[in-house]
């Protein structure tokens, strides 16, 4: 089942609705990559609040997505990792190093907003 992706300004928000199979994850990767390019988005939020398991494949794919999105000039933020899931991930040795992770959607949007502003300030020099 594909993950619904909403466009909000120059952000894309992908809200995971249910347990993701490997194929679903790969589809998400391709979808996001495609849309970031098409809409010239500046930020991508992947909301995994609903996910009860984040295993090594999911973790790898999320990092791949972040990498691909970055190559297209946008930033990825993972939001909503639940306490139990965070704990299991760490036991498994999955750290999502290099990927921004924040508490929830609200924080995710705030983060992207801050990034956008500091980028704009940088551009103005």
């Amino acid at each position: 089942m594909p993950v619904p992706i909403l466009k909000q300004g120059d952000c894309l928000i992908a809200s995971v609705q249910s347990a993701l199979s490997d194929a679903d994850l790969l589809e998400l990767r391709d979808d996001l990559s495609d849309r970031v390019g098409r809409f010239r988005s500046k930020g991508v939020i992947i909301d995994v609040t609903v996910l009860d398991v984040l295993d090594s494949f999911a973790s790898r794919t999320l990092r791949t997505i972040a990498e691909m999105v970055r190559l297209r000039g946008a930033e990825t933020v993972i939001v909503g990792i639940q306490p139990d899931v965070a704990f299991a991930m760490v036991q498994l040795g999955l750290t999502l190093d290099g990927v921004t992770t924040v508490l929830d959607l609200e924080e995710g949007l705030a983060h992207l907003e801050r990034s956008r502003r500091s980028q704009a300030a940088g551009a103005r020099g």
Binding site: A19, L20, S21, D22, A23, D52, V53, L54, D55, S56, F57, S59, R60, Q82, P83, D84, V85, F87, A88, M89, Q91, L92, G93, L94, T95, D97
Partner: protein, 135 residues
């Protein structure tokens, strides 16, 4: 309906999700708390994925167990695949790995309380892992 034990054949992608789900159900029935359930489900996910990746097919059996008055959940992941040539090597890890190499077995072991792996080239692989209810 609460599941007391389950046997999930692993042949395709969506079976990994089914195995996790079954594991979750058995663990809930066994009285495990949230974070332990997640650990069991995550371990099952890793083991099921290994089966798909290296053996193409196999099965995951999850069942409630009892020993010395303690309750637990046992996960058996079996396949008739190529087997692991060097089990010792497969069980080693740099402590915080999580990169794409390897079978994720050391991490999986950390998620569970007991862990045993029997594998040899040409003889398939059976991983047995048990998590006990915390006192």
């Amino acid at each position: 309906m609460p599941v007391v034990d389950a046997c999930v054949p692993i042949r395709e992608d969506s079976d990994v999700v089914a195995a996790r789900s079954a594991g979750r159900s058995v663990a809930e029935h066994g009285g495990f708390g949230g974070s332990d359930i997640t650990m069991i489900a995550t371990a099952i996910s890793e083991l099921a994925r290994n089966i798909l990746k290296y053996a193409r097919e196999g099965e995951i059996v999850v069942e409630g167990v009892q020993q010395n008055g303690r309750a637990g959940v046992s996960v058996i992941a079996r396949d008739e695949g190529p087997g692991i040539a060097d089990v010792g090597l497969a069980m080693q890890d740099g402590y915080s790995s999580g990169n794409s190499l390897g079978l994720g077995l050391p991490g999986t072991r950390r998620l569970m309380d007991e862990f045993e792996i029997v594998s040899a080239p040409g003889h398939g692989t059976t991983v047995t892992a048990i998590k006990w209810l915390r006192q």
